[in-house]
Amino acid sequence: MENTIGGFFLKFDFIKNAIASGSSAIGFDLTMLFYIMMFLVGAVAITALLATVGGLGTYAERKISADIQARIGPNRVGPFGILQFLADGIKMMTKEDIMPSGADKFLFYLAPFLCIFGVFSTFAVIPFSEGLQLTNLDIGIFYLIAIASLVGVGIFLGGYASNSKWSLLGGMRGAAQIISYEIPVTISIMSIVLLSGTLSFTEVINMQSGFPHNWFIFHNPFTFIGFFVLFIAGLAETNRAPFDLPEAESELVSGYHTEYTGIRFGLFALAEYIEIFVVSGVSVSLFLGGYNLPGHFLHGTLGAQPLQFAIFMGKTFFLYYVVIWIRWTFPRLRADHLMTICWKYLTPIAIFNLIGCAFWMVLFNGKSFYDLLMH
């Protein structure tokens, strides 16, 4: 219980005293209730926040793509069209929910929820700030990799259950792509686990600091390559361009969600946009210093939380922008090239990085590149 979100707030004396006086007034220990209430409030807040981020993601994608292609983009609903995602959401909810004939009803209903469940479960461990992290699991990184694999099952079942050749092809491609690219992602993350000696997000972030020279990306040459391996493989895992073969518009209509309508289609789209946020957030936490403020400014106080949150969101949204930028710049890969990139390039490079990091730890006693230059 101490490592959930309530544990952070109980470190402060005034909250502790308030709970103690409340408990003595009622004659019933409120500590447990406080933990549960804080967890529920945090969970609801993060879910609402991320649903908004997913919705704004669709808006950002349309606006940025319009910019890149010298168009205007959505500009009717609200100032600069920023409420477009709400209009889209209402439209999706009022659309008819069509079930294709011959579809597997049970799996057709289940698939989008598996996707959403897999994506939202990862937010149990993602650290937005020192306090705003639902649980600080000791195996947080491992948990995130494990639970995110449910998305692959959801995509695969969505493709299968629709009883359509396009969906089936998209689902097969999606599942093959996701389980292949899990390997370079996991091995690149393992090199960071090797450097920091922990599987907990909080401890990995605490070993870095606010300034770039202490980030793990600049720790040694191997982690520098490792960041790009993680980012490229992460793009492929979220089925984003140039790896969006599962939903390739020009060949498969829209892949595994061809037959989905209304809110079920919306759930698939939302899962995809939030997954980009997850991949960006994990890259930021592991390689780019996470929520750290320069010089551990106000570390461990309540006042630092909004600043830390802003720092984390700023870095994550920058990577989010890069993901969208890549989509509208590069053409789609061919299926065999996709597998070649994964198995012949990214996986060997990731393994090389892991071994390189191990040698660096032994030879230079775990000091970073900057430390070696300065001392």
């Binding site: 597997d104 494990a146 692959g152 079942l157 299968y160 097969m172 599942a175």
Partner: protein
Amino acid sequence: MYYWILFLTSALLTIGSSVLMLWTKNLIHSCIFLLGSLIGIAGLYLSLGADFVAVTQIMVYVGGIVILMLFAMMLTGGKDFVSKRQKILDLIPLMGNKKSLIWASLVAFVFLLSQALLLMKIFSSVKVLDEVSAYSPSVEKIGELLITSHELAFELSSVLLLGALVGAAIIARPKKGRGN
């Protein structure tokens, strides 16, 4: 209290989806119920305080095995795999005939009896985490044990996995002199 809720929901999920897995006639549905059952088992591990084992369960079975099973069914035509019913046992979807069922129940009876005798002592001493001790992280302990007292088993299993990998590569290798 908290661990009891976790234990009860996980146990219900495990047993319920196992029964549904056996009951359903569609092989793909059966696979999805297996997924639920495996997640339930992860919950059971969690209620015993084995967090690392629980996450490994999800990682290996949900992320790997279930997807591979689905793949195998899809590539071999999943829709045609609807289990065939026997005439006498029309109400119960079971694979096999009368003779095999009688043998199977006999074997199962003997097996259960011996297992029950063996496991009686273990079951009577297993307690949910609340009663044993507070939660403590288990990654470090597992890691230490793997490279000290259980090193041989660890290395042997890695050799086994390497063997499987090499074997798969040999099977999949294109044969020489047999066309392109």
